[in-house]
């Protein structure tokens, strides 16, 4: 009988779309809760999780050294008894029914369902007309802010010590809008788009991040002396947001000054927030200060979820030889744990990782050692086992 009523209602609602919407609203309360999720400060995803509940996460191993380092991260997480269930997906583009290459729908569904993802290095095949995978993922989940914390690792000496900078960059618009055209033969024009919504979102996220991670200062990096209206708008949004967070110090600096000072004394900067292009360049420069892209984590925060990734290449020459360094992916995974409010586990894993590198007994090739990836992973697992009660 119940079946009959359900199918009867289904049949009616199929023909009358408004009725269907009404029924959907009645029956599917979870959907409405998710659609209310609009601003960064709510972060409904994070607060919905309880630490006793096992959470599903999507993991995209990637190409080259991707599978090895993903396996290493999963092993470490298992050793730390993190309540996460991994769902592995493959994002190699497949030919869809319309002949165009795209991410397989199963991958998209998986990340949509779980809302949190960890991505390894992806190889972008040249040519063959398929969309950049990073771009597709970014559009799918509206990833509007890219966070890259750069911290000096104690065991790895570079010319710069005590670097502790976080670069937060706007991820959707700015100079990377991709709007270019050739107006006259020999004259090319590229448009840089700055909107108030995007600037406000990323500014709010920056201040929120600063407050939650107990940092002290936010610096807005801009070039408003030259690009008065565009960077002026960005700056105004940052200033408005600064007033709402009076306990966080706010300053604005020109891009040239920041570059100059960053190279001389990186300790004077704490959190930097900036539009897309400057963010790209500065975040890579800060990564260079601490030892390169092989050691820096990175997270993309969006309206519908978050994607944490390692930004280094696929290193095809050492793929499969157990020589890869999983640090970048591991630190990104730690960022993911903090985003999910699993701070205790995050702290244990992070400190074990730093302690292993500081000890310098098992270092992989890129850090100047001779250990294998598995030895490095095992060392971290031992420390975790020693640290957890």
């Amino acid at each position: 009988m119940a079946n009959f009523t359900k199918s009867f209602l289904n049949n009616i609602s199929r023909t009358l779309p408004r009725l269907r919407k009404f029924f959907d609203q009645l029956t599917d309360k979870k959907n409405t809760a998710e659609t209310e999720f609009s601003s960064a400060s709510k972060r409904a995803v994070g607060s919905r999780l309880y630490s006793s509940e096992v959470k599903k996460c999507t993991i995209i191993p990637g190409d080259g050294i991707g599978p090895e380092i993903s396996a290493a991260v999963q092993k470490i997480f298992a050793a730390a008894k993190v309540p996460i269930e991994w769902e592995s997906v493959d994002v190699t583009p497949v030919r869809g029914p319309d002949g165009k290459f795209g991410i397989p729908q199963s991958a998209i569904d998986s990340v949509n369902r779980n809302k949190i993802g960890l991505k390894g290095p992806l190889m972008t095949p040249v040519g063959k007309g398929h969309r950049s995978l990073n771009l597709a993922l970014r559009k799918e989940f509206n990833l509007y802010a890219n966070v890259r914390p750069c911290r000096s690792l104690e065991g790895y000496k570079t010319l710069y010590d005590h670097v502790d900078v976080v670069t937060i960059r706007e991820n959707t618009e700015g100079e990377y809008s991709g709007i270019e055209h050739e107006i006259v033969d020999g004259v090319v024009q590229s448009i840089k788009l700055i909107t108030e919504d995007a600037s406000r979102r990323v500014a709010e996220f920056a201040f929120q991040y600063t407050k939650e991670n107990k940092r002290h200062k936010v610096t807005a990096v801009h070039k408003a002396n030259i690009m008065r209206m565009s960077d002026g708008l960005f700056l105004r949004c940052c200033r408005d947001m600064a007033e709402k967070y009076p306990d966080v110090k706010f300053e604005e600096k020109y891009l040239d000054t920041v570059c100059l000072n960053m190279v001389q004394d990186p300790t004077q900067y704490d959190v930097l927030v900036m539009p897309n292009l400057y963010g790209d360049i500065l975040s890579d420069m800060c990564a260079g200060l601490v030892g390169g892209l092989g050691l820096t984590p990175s997270g993309n925060i969006g309206l519908n979820g978050a994607l944490f990734e390692s930004v280094h290449g696929t290193a095809p020459d050492i793929a499969g030889k157990d020589l890869a360094n999983p640090t970048a992916l591991l630190l990104s995974a730690v960022m993911m744990l903090r985003y999910m409010n699993l701070n205790k586990h995050a702290d244990i894993i992070e400190s074990s990782c730093f302690a292993t590198i500081k000890e310098a007994k098992f270092l992989t090739g890129d850090l100047g050692g001779k250990a294998k990836c598995s030895e490095f992973t095992n060392a971290i697992c031992e420390k975790i086992a020693a640290a957890s009660p």
Binding site: Q189, I191, T195, I226, M227, M229, L233, C259, L277, D284
Partner: protein, 384 residues
Amino acid sequence: MASRVILKKPLELGKILFRNQSTMSAFEIQHKTPLIKKVAAIPVALYGGRHAVTMLPGGGIGPELMGYVREVFKYAGAPVDFEVVEIGDENTDLEYALTSIKRNGVAIKGNIETKSESASVVSRNVAIRNELDLFVNVLHCKSYPGVPARQKDIDIVIIRQNTEGEYAMLEHESVDGVIESMKVVTTSNSDRVARFAFEYAKKNGRKKVTTIHKANIMKLSDGLFLETSKRIAKDYPEIEHNDMIIDNCCMQLVSKPHQFDVMIMTNLYGSIVSNVVCGLIGGAGLLSGKNYGDHYAIFEPGTRNTGTAIAGKNIANPIAMLSASVAMLKHLGHTQHAELIQRAIEKTICEEKIHTPDLGGTAKSTDVVQRIIDNILQADIRPW
């Protein structure tokens, strides 16, 4: 009437004439063919053996640094007279400055503050560069041995496009809350810069030229710039040419800067890279930048800082402005005076290590300048 014509595009002009020959009268040929003016080189103002140079002090630390330049020139006996022009926010001031520079051909300037923040008032520095068509900015970054710096023995030349690119200052608000800013890249300007770079490399015995770009994202604009440099690189087979993406370049600069020799790039990337390299060498107060156009040259401190925070406190580093003045003397042809002052500067900075606070020392600007003057007076060779 003596019609002075230099045919820039003889083929096109010929085509127009041949096409219209049957229908065009002599009057039409004279008035309807495109007017091409002969551009004569304006003589560098040399009155009685002394050059006249425009001086634009600018704001912040500008005026005091200009004072030091004058003093050093007095003691070195450099035959240069300065014509000081102040620029405010009025357009008339700007026009007067431009006329003065056009008359003299050479200028030395500090960084000019544009007080108004509205979008309709173009930044004064950008206006000067655009009006005089100073299409290239050369920054020769050479490490001073005695200065404390993170990296040693750097010798990089940064050649940056100076007039267009991201500094086109064309912005508009199409929809409320959405602002578009245009970045313009033209073949002719990219061509000129690339050619200048390769000629510079050839003249100064440089081995490698690197083009810095972001053509993977901005395919058309930076792609055009990159293709132009690759095309011109073919004309100079003895000079090695490669290219690098700006993010990778910044990462390499902070870890391995010695792989770079000459770098070419557009306006914004030039600003970033020149500041990074200046930081690696020791600070903003050490290097000078030269802006070249077809007819005019302007010399200024390398990183265009106004220094309002340190104005009037006698702690500004005078080396940048003095290096700019040395470059200016070389450009005007007074090589002996230029070398004299250069050697005095090097002796003060590298051997005697008299450093201002930004380099980690305790000397005042006036002390540094006094030492340089002493070194000039004690020098073995003096031109007079």
